[in-house]
Amino acid sequence: MEHVATSVDGMELVYERPSTLTDTPMHYCPGCAHGVVHRVLMEVIQEMGIQDRTVGVAPVGCSVFAYNYMNIDMQEAAHGRASAVATGIKRILPDRFVFSYQGDGDLAAIGTGETIHTANRGENILVVFINNAIYGMTGGQMAPTTLLGMVTSTTPYGRESAVMGFPLKITDLVAQLPGAYYVTRQSVHTPTAARKLKKAIRNSLEYQKQNRGTCFIEVVSNCPSGWKMTPRESNEWMEKNMFPFYPPGDLKIPRG
């Protein structure tokens, strides 16, 4: 990537908004992971110089306005259908970089079928999966990924496995499928974590260039509003409670 240091008021500019992000204030709640993931994803697209060849598909949910921030062609698909719409786009435009960007309710509940079959066909796309264990947009209901004992508006006494089943590790399921080429779980709660995510996104898009199959990145995220915590508390809570169940790290990496 070409990075030109610019001088502003006599000081050197060392950090700036990538051209792939628009100059639009984000609507996300303070401390939400979405903004960081958006930025990291767009940084990679800028660095690879593929802004004009990248197509994204976001669903409904908190990322419904992603097209306002990502300065690339973006579609908003119906709830759960992002990877299916991405499939159609990629099949017709195989030389473009195609990704879907989905939350846990979208990807692991209403879109489970699409998710599994997209990876099972080895669709040559990147799936970015934001897992914050809750339905943020509709006001904090239990999601498929909600942890046991976790209080949400529809589990006022905490999620009980006897009634509401267990949190779904859909990333582990996807990793079992032969069509899935690269499956990893990341986070963005520290600068180090964000850099690791960036590396994972870069790898995925390089693999996509080589037609390797589905790349799947889960980003374990916070939801300060839905969890009813401050941003700092939510990140601490995430490390303490989410990470033991959804441990960051690679689940499937290419051989050799």
């Binding site: 709830h79 309710g105 509940a109 509709t138 209901q141 498929p144 529809t154 589990t155």
Partner: protein
């Protein structure tokens, strides 16, 4: 109030999926049902939610689900199944702006025909449309009564403005409505799942998991519930599905009629818009204009008699509804022969009394 009405009506099973503006009902049922010995279950999508509710109802438990337009689109498969299998079920459809994902936080009255005509064959599904919080309570109970009496899915068609607006109600003046119990067949009787002699009869319900064998299928079937192609008995069952409603259509009439002697204009409306319409009519009268008002709460089956009564002496009918295309106007049109019909339509925000008044005073 919809959740309160459902609990009062004896609903003990609810399944839902988060969707604005219907999530409040889901949340209400999660909070209330366990104390009643009931169960409110989170589903992974609306396809499952309605299917859970149908499964519970097949056992004889009064069941409900609630959604909005995008979720309704997914539910229509099983709404047809409930109709075909004559499974009592109440579905609350809280309308928001469409098509597609539309506007989650914007009200609309755009699902009127999408709700009613969601079946292949266009079978009549009773649709109730409340105008305020009190009616959310009373019409929910009535929806359960109809579902149980006539073994049919019933749609409670409301909208974002009605479902998400906080209104003050006096508990003491709520009508005391009794819950309709399911009419089950006598134990040991030899009849099948759908036993009737005349097409308009309602077959007694036989729960799954009981003493008698029960066969249920969404495919075309005979009176035993066995898949058949086009045998005379199967065709009779298909006819019966419509006849049982059509034959009683006058029993489904719920309207608010406010006719003025000598009026030549009639304002027809429903749901939240009928509140503006009633206000507009009151203001017009205060200004000396003679005008009648018909608020329809039972949208389907269409209350033909009430419409015919309201039409006496009327030269112009105004149909006010929050959609571009005049959905219910198109339904009423064949009944309004000889009168001039004008639509008062708008989307994006509620129709105001002033807008209805302006339409009333427009020259022909």
């Amino acid at each position: 109030m919809i959740a309160e009405g459902a609990v009062q009506a004896g609903c003990r099973f609810f399944a839902g999926y988060p969707i604005t503006p219907a999530t409040g009902i889901f949340k209400g049922m999660v909070d209330m049902l366990p104390a009643q010995g009931g169960l409110a279950l989170s589903a992974p999508d609306e396809i499952s939610a309605i299917a859970y509710a149908i499964g519970a109802s097949l056992r004889g438990i009064k069941s409900m689900t609630a959604t909005s337009g995008p979720g309704w689109a997914l539910m229509t498969e099983s709404v047809q199944y409930a109709l075909m299998t004559e499974t009592p079920l109440v579905i609350t459809l809280v309308q928001r702006l469409g098509p597609s994902t539309g506007g989650a936080t914007q009200g609309a009255q755009g699902d009127v025909l999408f709700a009613e005509y969601c079946t292949s064959g266009g079978y009549t599904i009773p649709v109730l449309c409340p105008v305020n919080a009190t009616e959310c309570y009373t019409l929910t109970i009535l929806a359960f009564t109809w579902a149980e009496l006539y073994r049919t899915p019933v749609i409670l068609l409301t909208d974002k403005e009605i479902a998400m607006t906080a209104e003050r109600i006096d508990d003491d003046v709520l009508p005391n409505m009794t819950a309709q119990e399911r009419l089950t067949s006598k134990s040991g009787s030899a009849v099948g799942t759908y036993d009737f002699d005349f097409p308009q009869e309602i077959p007694a319900f036989r729960p799954v998991g009981g003493l008698e064998k029960v066969t249920v299928t969404g495919s075309a079937h005979d009176k035993q519930g066995r898949l058949q192609k086009n045998t005379p008995e199967t065709l009779e069952v298909l006819k019966h599905l419509e006849e049982k409603i059509r034959w009683r259509e006058n029993d489904f009439c719920v309207v608010e009629t406010d006719l003025q002697k000598g009026a030549e204009s009639l304002v027809v409306s429903y749901g939240v818009t009928s509140r503006a319409a009633a206000e507009a009519v009151a203001r017009a009268r205060a200004d000396g204009t003679k005008v009648s008002f018909l608020g329809i709460k039972s949208l389907f089956p269409v209350p033909r008699r009430a419409v015919a009564r309201a039409l006496k002496g009327i030269r112009t009918v105004f149909v006010a509804e929050e959609n571009y295309t005049g959905l219910y106007r198109s339904v009423l049109l064949p009944l309004l022969g000889g009168t001039e019909v004008r639509g008062i339509n708008k989307v994006g925000s509620m129709i105001t009394p002033q807008e209805i008044l302006a339409a009333l005073s427009e020259p022909a």
